[in-house]
Each structure stands twice: as C-alpha cells, then as structure tokens.
Symmetry: C2
Subunit: 87 residues, 2 copies
C-alpha cells in the first residue's frame, strides 16, 4: 500500500514535471536552451513506454507516458514556433 503510493507519486512527479517547462516557455517565448535532441529522445522513449504500458495493460505506465508524450510534443512545437518567430 505504502509502496503503491510511492510508485504513483513518482509517476505523477515525472509526468507533471514538464508542465512548468511549458509555462516557462509560453511566458518567456524562448526555449532555445532546451535541447531538441533531448526532446526527440524523450518523444521516442515515451512512445515506446506507452506501447509497453498498453501491452502490459498497466494503466499507470500507459497514462503517465501518454500525458508525458503530449507535454513533450507541446514543448517541441512551442520551441520550433518561438525559434521561427525569434529568427
């Protein structure tokens, strides 16, 4: 019971962690320091985790990585949009 709370809290932290990055990007209109290679590797990784979670029928792995994937895609799109506007 305690450990399932630890696991759930872990998944929540590493998922909602990307929301402050989205907010910071929208506020400063600049995401140049954020590595596009990091975002690409996270995109591939989260897609594979999502497939793995669906295969295992594990709702925590699937949901956490589904949300993280959508946040990472948002950061990638914002970064590209701001880079275009700033150049």
């Amino acid at each position: 019971m305690l450990w399932s709370i630890v696991g759930t809290l872990a998944a929540i932290c590493t998922t909602i962690g990307y929301i402050p990055q989205i907010i910071r990007g929208i506020r400063t209109k600049n995401l140049n320091d954020v590595s596009p290679m990091m975002l690409t590797l996270l995109l591939v990784g989260c897609s594979l985790w999502l497939a793995y979670g669906i295969h295992l029928k594990d709702p925590i792995i699937a949901l956490a990585n589904g949300f993280t994937l959508s946040f990472v895609i948002t950061i990638l799109l914002l970064r590209a949009a701001y880079k275009k506007n700033n150049s």
Copy 2:
C-alpha cells in the same frame, strides 16, 4: 521477448535523453530557458522511482532512474553555476 526489448529501449531513451541537454548546456554555458521547477519535480520523481525500483528489486527501474537522477542533478548544478556566472 519483443516486449522486453521495447521496454528496455524505452528506458534507455528516457534515461540517455538528458545527456544531450547536459552537452548543450556545457557548450552554450546557458540553461536559463530550462525550467528549475521541472528539474526539481524530476529530481523528486526520479528519487521516488529509484526507491520504488529498489523495493521491487527491479534492476531496470532502479538503474534507469538512478542514472536519470544523476543527470537531472548535473543539469540543476550546471544551471545554477551558469546563472551565477552570467549575472
């Protein structure tokens, strides 16, 4: 067998994903656009995942999050150092 490869590849991508961010930071000497709140939430999340992985005796969860934790701490320390130098 196929699915354990998918899970392992997923863990590798979401772990090594932070290395390009460290390299970019060292190259540009600037990590200002990277959200410190994101890094803090990832630090807490990976610590909990590491504890959860050790509890489950799952080497993939423990190792992946141990490495990710060390990368996130590195990015946090680099960000603080560059912020001090640039101000």
